[in-house]
Protein backbone atom coordinates (compact mmCIF):
# COMPACT_ATOMS: atom_id res chain seq x y z
CA UNK A 1 0.00 0.00 0.00
CA UNK A 2 1.36 3.37 -1.07
CA UNK A 3 1.51 6.04 1.58
CA UNK A 4 0.45 9.34 -0.01
CA UNK A 5 1.36 11.21 3.13
CA UNK A 6 -2.13 12.73 3.44
CA UNK A 7 -2.99 13.15 7.04
CA UNK A 8 -6.43 13.94 8.38
CA UNK A 9 -5.19 17.47 9.08
CA UNK A 10 -4.16 17.89 5.46
CA UNK A 11 -7.53 16.61 4.36
CA UNK A 12 -9.27 19.07 6.65
CA UNK A 13 -7.19 21.89 5.20
CA UNK A 14 -8.05 20.85 1.64
CA UNK A 15 -11.74 20.73 2.57
CA UNK A 16 -11.46 24.20 4.15
CA UNK A 17 -9.91 25.54 0.94
CA UNK A 18 -12.66 23.94 -1.13
CA UNK A 19 -15.33 25.29 1.22
CA UNK A 20 -13.80 28.77 1.14
CA UNK A 21 -13.62 28.68 -2.66
CA UNK A 22 -17.21 27.48 -2.76
CA UNK A 23 -18.35 30.32 -0.52
CA UNK A 24 -16.54 32.89 -2.64
CA UNK A 25 -17.73 31.40 -5.93
CA UNK A 26 -21.28 31.19 -4.56
CA UNK A 27 -21.15 34.87 -3.69
CA UNK A 28 -20.85 35.69 -7.42
CA UNK A 29 -24.25 34.30 -8.56
CA UNK A 30 -25.78 35.67 -5.34
CA UNK A 31 -24.27 39.06 -6.25
CA UNK A 32 -25.69 38.83 -9.77
CA UNK A 33 -29.09 37.95 -8.32
CA UNK A 34 -28.94 40.88 -5.89
CA UNK A 35 -27.73 43.16 -8.71
CA UNK A 36 -30.70 42.19 -10.91
CA UNK A 37 -33.19 42.62 -8.08
CA UNK A 38 -31.79 46.04 -7.13
CA UNK A 39 -31.79 47.14 -10.77
CA UNK A 40 -35.33 45.90 -11.36
CA UNK A 41 -36.71 47.81 -8.38
CA UNK A 42 -34.59 50.95 -8.52
CA UNK A 43 -35.26 51.50 -12.22
CA UNK A 44 -38.93 52.02 -11.35
CA UNK A 45 -38.19 55.00 -9.15
CA UNK A 46 -34.91 56.38 -10.50
CA UNK A 47 -33.28 56.99 -13.87
CA UNK A 48 -31.70 54.01 -15.62
CA UNK A 49 -28.16 55.28 -15.03
CA UNK A 50 -28.67 55.51 -11.28
CA UNK A 51 -30.31 52.08 -11.24
CA UNK A 52 -27.35 50.56 -13.08
CA UNK A 53 -24.87 52.27 -10.76
CA UNK A 54 -26.63 51.15 -7.60
CA UNK A 55 -27.09 47.59 -8.88
CA UNK A 56 -23.36 47.34 -9.64
CA UNK A 57 -22.57 48.65 -6.18
CA UNK A 58 -24.86 45.99 -4.65
CA UNK A 59 -23.08 43.30 -6.68
CA UNK A 60 -19.63 44.33 -5.46
CA UNK A 61 -20.82 44.57 -1.85
CA UNK A 62 -22.11 40.96 -1.99
CA UNK A 63 -18.89 39.70 -3.62
CA UNK A 64 -16.72 41.48 -1.03
CA UNK A 65 -18.86 40.00 1.78
CA UNK A 66 -18.42 36.59 0.13
CA UNK A 67 -14.65 37.13 0.07
CA UNK A 68 -14.52 37.89 3.79
CA UNK A 69 -16.81 34.94 4.58
CA UNK A 70 -14.41 32.73 2.63
CA UNK A 71 -11.51 34.05 4.70
CA UNK A 72 -13.54 33.27 7.80
CA UNK A 73 -13.99 29.67 6.63
CA UNK A 74 -10.18 29.40 6.39
CA UNK A 75 -9.95 30.72 9.97
CA UNK A 76 -7.86 33.64 8.77
CA UNK A 77 -7.53 36.21 11.50
CA UNK A 78 -9.45 39.15 10.11
CA UNK A 79 -8.10 41.60 12.67
CA UNK A 80 -5.13 42.40 10.44
CA UNK A 81 -7.39 42.55 7.43
CA UNK A 82 -9.71 44.87 9.32
CA UNK A 83 -6.81 47.17 10.26
CA UNK A 84 -5.50 47.06 6.70
CA UNK A 85 -9.04 47.56 5.46
CA UNK A 86 -9.34 50.56 7.76
CA UNK A 87 -6.24 52.16 6.23
CA UNK A 88 -7.34 51.26 2.74
CA UNK A 89 -10.80 52.58 3.53
CA UNK A 90 -9.43 55.92 4.68
CA UNK A 91 -7.20 56.15 1.58
CA UNK A 92 -10.02 55.13 -0.75
CA UNK A 93 -12.37 57.47 1.11
CA UNK A 94 -10.12 60.43 0.46
CA UNK A 95 -9.55 59.37 -3.12
CA UNK A 96 -13.19 58.73 -3.87
CA UNK A 97 -14.54 61.78 -2.08
CA UNK A 98 -15.27 63.53 -5.37
CA UNK A 99 -16.69 60.37 -6.91
CA UNK A 100 -19.08 59.85 -4.00
CA UNK A 101 -19.97 63.52 -4.02
CA UNK A 102 -20.79 63.29 -7.72
CA UNK A 103 -22.81 60.13 -7.15
CA UNK A 104 -24.84 61.68 -4.33
CA UNK A 105 -25.29 64.87 -6.35
CA UNK A 106 -26.58 62.73 -9.22
CA UNK A 107 -29.14 61.17 -6.89
CA UNK A 108 -30.13 64.57 -5.48
CA UNK A 109 -30.42 65.95 -9.00
CA UNK A 110 -32.88 63.20 -9.78
CA UNK A 111 -35.13 64.19 -6.91
CA UNK A 112 -34.64 67.95 -7.30
CA UNK A 113 -35.16 67.74 -11.09
CA UNK A 114 -33.67 71.09 -12.06
CA UNK A 115 -33.10 69.71 -15.56
CA UNK A 116 -33.96 66.75 -17.70
CA UNK A 117 -32.68 65.29 -20.94
CA UNK A 118 -33.57 67.57 -23.83
CA UNK A 119 -33.73 70.78 -21.78
CA UNK A 120 -31.82 73.78 -23.09
CA UNK A 121 -29.76 74.95 -20.13
CA UNK A 122 -26.78 76.98 -19.04
CA UNK A 123 -24.54 75.40 -16.38
CA UNK A 124 -21.17 76.65 -15.22
CA UNK A 125 -21.04 79.00 -18.17
CA UNK A 126 -21.77 76.23 -20.68
CA UNK A 127 -24.98 76.59 -22.65
CA UNK A 128 -26.59 73.79 -24.61
CA UNK A 129 -29.07 70.95 -24.58
CA UNK A 130 -28.85 68.26 -21.90
CA UNK A 131 -28.04 65.03 -23.72
CA UNK A 132 -27.49 62.69 -20.77
CA UNK A 133 -27.68 62.69 -16.98
CA UNK A 134 -25.38 59.99 -15.60
CA UNK A 135 -24.71 58.97 -12.04
CA UNK A 136 -21.46 60.91 -11.94
CA UNK A 137 -21.80 63.55 -14.62
CA UNK A 138 -24.21 65.42 -16.84
CA UNK A 139 -23.49 65.74 -20.53
CA UNK A 140 -24.48 68.84 -22.42
CA UNK A 141 -24.41 69.30 -26.17
CA UNK A 142 -23.40 72.93 -26.51
CA UNK A 143 -25.14 75.23 -28.98
CA UNK A 144 -22.35 74.67 -31.49
CA UNK A 145 -22.53 70.88 -31.17
CA UNK A 146 -19.63 70.24 -28.79
CA UNK A 147 -20.19 67.76 -25.96
CA UNK A 148 -19.45 69.10 -22.49
CA UNK A 149 -19.18 66.80 -19.47
CA UNK A 150 -20.06 68.54 -16.22
CA UNK A 151 -19.59 66.62 -12.93
CA UNK A 152 -22.90 66.27 -11.11
CA UNK A 153 -21.49 67.96 -8.02
CA UNK A 154 -20.92 71.11 -10.07
CA UNK A 155 -24.37 70.87 -11.67
CA UNK A 156 -25.97 70.50 -8.26
CA UNK A 157 -24.14 73.47 -6.76
CA UNK A 158 -24.11 75.69 -9.84
CA UNK A 159 -26.41 78.55 -10.68
CA UNK A 160 -28.36 76.79 -13.38
CA UNK A 161 -30.49 78.41 -16.07
CA UNK A 162 -33.11 76.10 -17.51
CA UNK A 163 -34.90 77.64 -20.44
CA UNK A 164 -37.84 75.23 -20.61
CA UNK A 165 -39.29 75.12 -17.15
CA UNK A 166 -41.56 78.02 -17.95
CA UNK A 167 -44.44 78.20 -20.38
CA UNK A 168 -43.50 81.59 -21.81
CA UNK A 169 -40.49 83.85 -21.85
CA UNK A 170 -40.02 87.54 -22.46
CA UNK A 171 -38.08 89.00 -25.36
CA UNK A 172 -36.61 92.47 -25.01
CA UNK A 173 -34.99 94.80 -27.55
CA UNK A 174 -33.66 98.29 -27.37
CA UNK A 175 -34.42 100.25 -30.53
CA UNK A 176 -33.04 103.73 -31.06
CA UNK A 177 -34.84 106.20 -33.30
CA UNK A 178 -33.79 109.64 -34.42
CA UNK A 179 -34.67 112.71 -32.35
CA UNK A 180 -36.35 114.08 -35.48
CA UNK A 181 -38.92 111.26 -35.51
CA UNK A 182 -42.11 110.97 -33.52
CA UNK A 183 -41.60 108.41 -30.75
CA UNK A 184 -45.38 107.91 -30.36
CA UNK A 185 -45.64 106.97 -34.04
CA UNK A 186 -42.67 104.62 -33.74
CA UNK A 187 -44.35 102.96 -30.76
CA UNK A 188 -47.55 102.47 -32.78
CA UNK A 189 -45.62 100.99 -35.71
CA UNK A 190 -43.81 98.50 -33.46
CA UNK A 191 -46.99 97.60 -31.56
CA UNK A 192 -48.76 96.89 -34.85
CA UNK A 193 -45.98 94.52 -35.93
CA UNK A 194 -46.30 92.63 -32.65
CA UNK A 195 -50.07 92.53 -32.73
CA UNK A 196 -50.05 91.04 -36.22
CA UNK A 197 -47.86 88.12 -35.24
CA UNK A 198 -50.03 85.21 -34.06
CA UNK A 199 -47.49 83.75 -31.67
CA UNK A 200 -46.52 86.91 -29.85
CA UNK A 201 -48.73 86.56 -26.84
CA UNK A 202 -51.60 88.96 -26.41
CA UNK A 203 -51.32 88.45 -22.65
CA UNK A 204 -49.01 89.48 -21.02
CA UNK A 205 -49.40 92.47 -23.30
CA UNK A 206 -46.51 93.56 -25.51
CA UNK A 207 -45.02 96.85 -24.44
CA UNK A 208 -43.09 99.68 -26.09
CA UNK A 209 -41.89 102.68 -24.11
CA UNK A 210 -39.25 105.39 -24.22
CA UNK A 211 -36.48 104.15 -21.99
CA UNK A 212 -33.76 106.69 -22.50
CA UNK A 213 -32.88 109.89 -24.28
CA UNK A 214 -29.57 108.67 -25.62
CA UNK A 215 -26.56 110.34 -27.19
CA UNK A 216 -27.63 109.42 -30.69
CA UNK A 217 -31.38 109.13 -30.43
CA UNK A 218 -34.47 108.21 -28.44
CA UNK A 219 -34.11 104.69 -27.03
CA UNK A 220 -37.31 102.61 -27.13
CA UNK A 221 -37.63 99.49 -25.05
CA UNK A 222 -39.63 96.78 -26.84
CA UNK A 223 -40.93 93.87 -24.80
CA UNK A 224 -43.12 90.92 -25.66
CA UNK A 225 -43.76 87.40 -24.42
CA UNK A 226 -43.36 84.30 -26.55
CA UNK A 227 -44.06 80.59 -26.06
CA UNK A 228 -40.88 79.10 -24.61
CA UNK A 229 -40.32 76.67 -27.48
CA UNK A 230 -40.53 79.49 -30.03
CA UNK A 231 -38.68 82.09 -28.00
CA UNK A 232 -35.44 82.12 -29.98
CA UNK A 233 -37.22 81.91 -33.33
CA UNK A 234 -39.44 84.88 -32.48
CA UNK A 235 -36.57 86.86 -30.97
CA UNK A 236 -34.58 86.63 -34.18
CA UNK A 237 -37.58 87.03 -36.49
CA UNK A 238 -39.14 90.05 -34.83
CA UNK A 239 -36.09 92.26 -34.54
CA UNK A 240 -35.76 92.39 -38.30
CA UNK A 241 -39.51 92.89 -38.73
CA UNK A 242 -39.38 95.84 -36.33
CA UNK A 243 -36.45 97.33 -38.25
CA UNK A 244 -38.25 96.88 -41.60
CA UNK A 245 -41.50 98.33 -40.27
CA UNK A 246 -39.72 101.42 -38.92
CA UNK A 247 -37.92 101.87 -42.23
CA UNK A 248 -41.18 101.50 -44.18
CA UNK A 249 -42.75 104.13 -41.94
CA UNK A 250 -39.86 106.50 -42.68
CA UNK A 251 -38.55 106.35 -39.14
CA UNK A 252 -34.79 106.54 -38.94
CA UNK A 253 -32.60 104.25 -36.86
CA UNK A 254 -29.61 106.57 -36.45
CA UNK A 255 -25.92 105.75 -36.48
CA UNK A 256 -23.96 106.94 -33.44
CA UNK A 257 -23.71 110.70 -33.73
CA UNK A 258 -21.63 113.46 -32.21
CA UNK A 259 -22.12 117.15 -32.87
CA UNK A 260 -18.85 119.06 -33.23
CA UNK A 261 -18.83 122.83 -32.86
CA UNK A 262 -15.93 124.56 -34.57
CA UNK A 263 -15.01 127.85 -33.06
CA UNK A 264 -13.88 130.37 -35.68
CA UNK A 265 -11.31 132.73 -34.20
CA UNK A 266 -11.36 136.45 -35.11
Amino acid sequence: MVDLGITSEHLRNYLDYIAAAAVFIASIPVGILVRNIVRRYVVRVAPRDIAIGLSKLAYYVVVVIGFFLALGVLNVDLTGVAILGGFVGVAVGFASQTVVSNLLSGIFLYFDRPLKIGDPVQVEGYGGVVSDIGIFSTRIRSWDGVYVRVPNEKVFNAILLNYTTTVARRVEYKVTISYRDDAERAKDVIMKVMEEHPLILAEPEPMVYVEDLGDSGVVLNVRFWAPISLWFQLKTEMLWKVKKALEDAGIEIPYPQRVVWLHQAG
Binding site: V167, R169, L199, L201, W225
Partner: protein, 227 residues
Protein backbone atom coordinates in the same frame (compact mmCIF):
# COMPACT_ATOMS: atom_id res chain seq x y z
CA UNK B 1 -69.69 75.39 -47.24
CA UNK B 2 -69.07 72.48 -44.85
CA UNK B 3 -69.45 68.79 -45.41
CA UNK B 4 -68.81 66.62 -48.44
CA UNK B 5 -67.59 68.24 -51.68
CA UNK B 6 -67.30 66.28 -54.92
CA UNK B 7 -63.96 66.67 -56.59
CA UNK B 8 -65.20 65.72 -60.04
CA UNK B 9 -62.56 66.74 -62.57
CA UNK B 10 -61.45 69.51 -60.30
CA UNK B 11 -62.74 71.67 -57.49
CA UNK B 12 -62.31 75.27 -56.45
CA UNK B 13 -63.38 76.45 -53.01
CA UNK B 14 -63.20 79.85 -51.40
CA UNK B 15 -62.47 79.81 -47.69
CA UNK B 16 -62.59 83.41 -46.58
CA UNK B 17 -59.89 85.13 -48.57
CA UNK B 18 -58.18 81.86 -49.46
CA UNK B 19 -58.79 80.23 -52.83
CA UNK B 20 -58.35 76.47 -52.71
CA UNK B 21 -57.89 74.45 -55.88
CA UNK B 22 -58.03 70.67 -56.10
CA UNK B 23 -57.16 69.01 -59.42
CA UNK B 24 -56.67 65.41 -60.45
CA UNK B 25 -53.13 64.34 -61.34
CA UNK B 26 -53.32 60.74 -62.59
CA UNK B 27 -54.64 58.68 -59.73
CA UNK B 28 -53.70 61.36 -57.20
CA UNK B 29 -55.13 64.78 -56.41
CA UNK B 30 -53.24 68.03 -56.11
CA UNK B 31 -54.17 70.54 -53.43
CA UNK B 32 -53.11 74.14 -53.92
CA UNK B 33 -53.58 77.40 -52.12
CA UNK B 34 -51.24 80.24 -51.30
CA UNK B 35 -48.13 78.71 -49.79
CA UNK B 36 -49.45 75.15 -49.87
CA UNK B 37 -49.00 72.65 -52.68
CA UNK B 38 -49.42 68.95 -51.96
CA UNK B 39 -50.47 65.72 -53.56
CA UNK B 40 -52.77 63.28 -51.85
CA UNK B 41 -54.48 60.00 -52.54
CA UNK B 42 -58.10 60.84 -53.18
CA UNK B 43 -61.50 59.38 -53.81
CA UNK B 44 -64.50 61.15 -55.27
CA UNK B 45 -64.83 63.74 -52.52
CA UNK B 46 -63.10 65.87 -49.96
CA UNK B 47 -64.66 67.03 -46.72
CA UNK B 48 -64.62 70.47 -45.18
CA UNK B 49 -65.11 70.66 -41.44
CA UNK B 50 -64.99 73.47 -38.89
CA UNK B 51 -62.34 72.73 -36.26
CA UNK B 52 -61.51 74.15 -32.81
CA UNK B 53 -59.11 77.06 -33.34
CA UNK B 54 -55.84 75.61 -32.07
CA UNK B 55 -54.13 74.23 -35.18
CA UNK B 56 -52.89 77.36 -36.95
CA UNK B 57 -50.11 78.45 -37.35
CA UNK B 58 -48.74 75.49 -35.39
CA UNK B 59 -50.42 72.79 -33.39
CA UNK B 60 -48.79 73.39 -30.01
CA UNK B 61 -51.49 74.59 -27.69
CA UNK B 62 -54.61 72.88 -26.43
CA UNK B 63 -56.88 75.53 -24.97
CA UNK B 64 -59.14 78.31 -26.13
CA UNK B 65 -58.98 81.42 -23.97
CA UNK B 66 -62.09 83.61 -24.28
CA UNK B 67 -61.62 87.16 -23.05
CA UNK B 68 -65.01 88.76 -22.51
CA UNK B 69 -65.27 92.33 -23.77
CA UNK B 70 -68.22 92.87 -21.46
CA UNK B 71 -67.64 91.30 -18.07
CA UNK B 72 -70.51 89.68 -16.22
CA UNK B 73 -71.25 90.21 -12.54
CA UNK B 74 -73.25 87.34 -11.06
CA UNK B 75 -74.93 87.25 -7.67
CA UNK B 76 -74.62 84.39 -5.15
CA UNK B 77 -76.15 81.12 -6.36
CA UNK B 78 -77.31 82.74 -9.59
CA UNK B 79 -76.90 81.54 -13.13
CA UNK B 80 -76.45 83.39 -16.41
CA UNK B 81 -77.08 81.96 -19.86
CA UNK B 82 -75.82 83.48 -23.06
CA UNK B 83 -73.66 83.04 -26.14
CA UNK B 84 -70.11 83.81 -27.12
CA UNK B 85 -68.41 83.85 -30.52
CA UNK B 86 -65.67 81.36 -31.21
CA UNK B 87 -63.63 81.57 -34.42
CA UNK B 88 -63.21 78.20 -36.10
CA UNK B 89 -60.56 76.86 -38.40
CA UNK B 90 -61.47 75.05 -41.59
CA UNK B 91 -60.03 71.59 -42.12
CA UNK B 92 -59.91 69.93 -45.53
CA UNK B 93 -59.99 66.15 -45.19
CA UNK B 94 -59.43 63.43 -47.76
CA UNK B 95 -62.03 61.19 -46.13
CA UNK B 96 -65.02 61.72 -43.92
CA UNK B 97 -63.21 60.79 -40.70
CA UNK B 98 -59.51 61.46 -41.13
CA UNK B 99 -56.73 62.24 -43.60
CA UNK B 100 -56.33 65.96 -42.99
CA UNK B 101 -54.89 67.74 -46.01
CA UNK B 102 -54.86 71.29 -44.76
CA UNK B 103 -56.20 73.50 -42.01
CA UNK B 104 -56.85 77.20 -42.50
CA UNK B 105 -57.73 79.93 -40.09
CA UNK B 106 -59.87 82.52 -41.87
CA UNK B 107 -59.73 84.67 -38.73
CA UNK B 108 -56.22 85.83 -37.84
CA UNK B 109 -55.02 83.66 -34.96
CA UNK B 110 -53.58 85.06 -31.76
CA UNK B 111 -52.46 83.31 -28.60
CA UNK B 112 -52.18 84.39 -24.99
CA UNK B 113 -50.93 83.17 -21.64
CA UNK B 114 -53.49 82.25 -19.01
CA UNK B 115 -51.86 82.13 -15.60
CA UNK B 116 -48.25 82.58 -14.63
CA UNK B 117 -45.27 82.05 -16.95
CA UNK B 118 -44.17 79.14 -14.74
CA UNK B 119 -47.38 77.15 -14.45
CA UNK B 120 -49.94 78.76 -16.73
CA UNK B 121 -51.04 77.63 -20.15
CA UNK B 122 -51.08 79.17 -23.59
CA UNK B 123 -54.32 79.15 -25.52
CA UNK B 124 -55.92 80.60 -28.62
CA UNK B 125 -56.92 84.10 -27.63
CA UNK B 126 -60.48 85.06 -28.51
CA UNK B 127 -61.97 88.42 -27.65
CA UNK B 128 -65.75 88.14 -27.67
CA UNK B 129 -68.80 89.81 -26.28
CA UNK B 130 -71.19 87.88 -24.10
CA UNK B 131 -74.50 87.94 -25.97
CA UNK B 132 -77.81 87.34 -24.23
CA UNK B 133 -79.42 85.95 -27.38
CA UNK B 134 -78.25 83.90 -30.33
CA UNK B 135 -76.60 86.09 -32.95
CA UNK B 136 -75.98 85.83 -36.68
CA UNK B 137 -72.47 84.64 -37.36
CA UNK B 138 -70.32 84.23 -40.44
CA UNK B 139 -69.27 80.70 -41.55
CA UNK B 140 -66.05 80.95 -39.60
CA UNK B 141 -67.58 81.76 -36.23
CA UNK B 142 -69.25 79.19 -34.02
CA UNK B 143 -72.14 80.43 -31.95
CA UNK B 144 -71.31 78.97 -28.56
CA UNK B 145 -73.90 78.69 -25.79
CA UNK B 146 -72.53 79.34 -22.31
CA UNK B 147 -74.05 78.82 -18.89
CA UNK B 148 -72.20 80.46 -16.01
CA UNK B 149 -73.29 79.46 -12.53
CA UNK B 150 -72.05 81.22 -9.44
CA UNK B 151 -71.90 78.56 -6.72
CA UNK B 152 -70.33 80.85 -4.14
CA UNK B 153 -71.98 83.00 -1.48
CA UNK B 154 -70.55 86.19 -2.93
CA UNK B 155 -70.87 88.27 -6.05
CA UNK B 156 -68.32 87.35 -8.70
CA UNK B 157 -67.21 89.04 -11.90
CA UNK B 158 -66.41 86.84 -14.88
CA UNK B 159 -64.09 88.25 -17.51
CA UNK B 160 -62.69 85.12 -19.10
CA UNK B 161 -63.42 81.50 -19.89
CA UNK B 162 -60.81 78.88 -20.71
CA UNK B 163 -61.83 75.63 -22.40
CA UNK B 164 -59.63 72.70 -23.46
CA UNK B 165 -59.91 72.43 -27.23
CA UNK B 166 -60.27 68.67 -26.97
CA UNK B 167 -63.61 69.15 -25.21
CA UNK B 168 -65.04 71.53 -27.77
CA UNK B 169 -67.53 69.82 -30.04
CA UNK B 170 -68.61 71.57 -33.21
CA UNK B 171 -71.69 71.07 -35.37
CA UNK B 172 -72.45 72.43 -38.80
CA UNK B 173 -75.38 72.95 -41.16
CA UNK B 174 -74.43 74.37 -44.56
CA UNK B 175 -72.42 77.44 -43.58
CA UNK B 176 -73.59 77.73 -40.00
CA UNK B 177 -71.44 76.49 -37.15
CA UNK B 178 -72.40 75.93 -33.57
CA UNK B 179 -70.40 74.66 -30.64
CA UNK B 180 -71.46 72.47 -27.76
CA UNK B 181 -72.61 74.28 -24.64
CA UNK B 182 -69.92 75.41 -22.23
CA UNK B 183 -70.82 75.10 -18.55
CA UNK B 184 -68.79 77.23 -16.18
CA UNK B 185 -69.26 76.76 -12.45
CA UNK B 186 -67.64 79.55 -10.50
CA UNK B 187 -66.23 78.07 -7.31
CA UNK B 188 -64.50 81.14 -5.85
CA UNK B 189 -63.68 84.70 -6.81
CA UNK B 190 -60.70 83.35 -8.81
CA UNK B 191 -61.53 79.76 -9.75
CA UNK B 192 -64.09 77.88 -11.80
CA UNK B 193 -64.66 74.49 -13.35
CA UNK B 194 -65.52 74.18 -17.01
CA UNK B 195 -67.27 71.32 -18.75
CA UNK B 196 -69.02 70.83 -22.06
CA UNK B 197 -72.42 69.35 -22.80
CA UNK B 198 -72.12 67.38 -26.01
CA UNK B 199 -75.58 67.64 -27.58
CA UNK B 200 -76.05 68.40 -31.26
CA UNK B 201 -78.52 71.20 -32.07
CA UNK B 202 -81.47 70.06 -34.11
CA UNK B 203 -80.64 69.80 -37.82
CA UNK B 204 -76.90 70.12 -37.28
CA UNK B 205 -74.26 67.49 -38.03
CA UNK B 206 -71.42 66.79 -35.61
CA UNK B 207 -67.84 67.23 -36.77
CA UNK B 208 -65.77 64.05 -36.38
CA UNK B 209 -63.28 64.51 -33.52
CA UNK B 210 -59.89 65.57 -34.85
CA UNK B 211 -56.85 64.97 -32.64
CA UNK B 212 -59.11 64.92 -29.62
CA UNK B 213 -57.47 62.69 -27.06
CA UNK B 214 -60.02 60.74 -25.08
CA UNK B 215 -58.38 61.49 -21.73
CA UNK B 216 -58.57 65.22 -22.34
CA UNK B 217 -62.19 64.97 -23.35
CA UNK B 218 -63.37 63.66 -20.03
CA UNK B 219 -64.16 65.37 -16.77
CA UNK B 220 -63.96 69.02 -15.87
CA UNK B 221 -61.26 71.53 -16.47
CA UNK B 222 -60.36 73.82 -13.58
CA UNK B 223 -59.62 77.47 -14.19
CA UNK B 224 -57.30 78.27 -11.32
CA UNK B 225 -55.68 81.47 -12.55
CA UNK B 226 -58.59 83.84 -12.37
CA UNK B 227 -62.02 84.10 -13.96
Amino acid sequence: MYGQRDIGKGLEIEVGEEKVRITRVGDLCRYERSGVDKLFTCGDSVYLYPLPPVNVPVRMFNHVYFKLENSIAIGPDEEVEGFIAMPVEVGVFASSEEGVIDIMSPKPPKYALYGSPEQGLIGRYVRTRFYKSRFDADPFTAVTPVVIANTTDNWVEVTRIVVPAARIRLYYRDSNVRAARINMNVTSHATATVSVTDKAPRGYVGVPPYRQEVALGLGRFTMEWGI
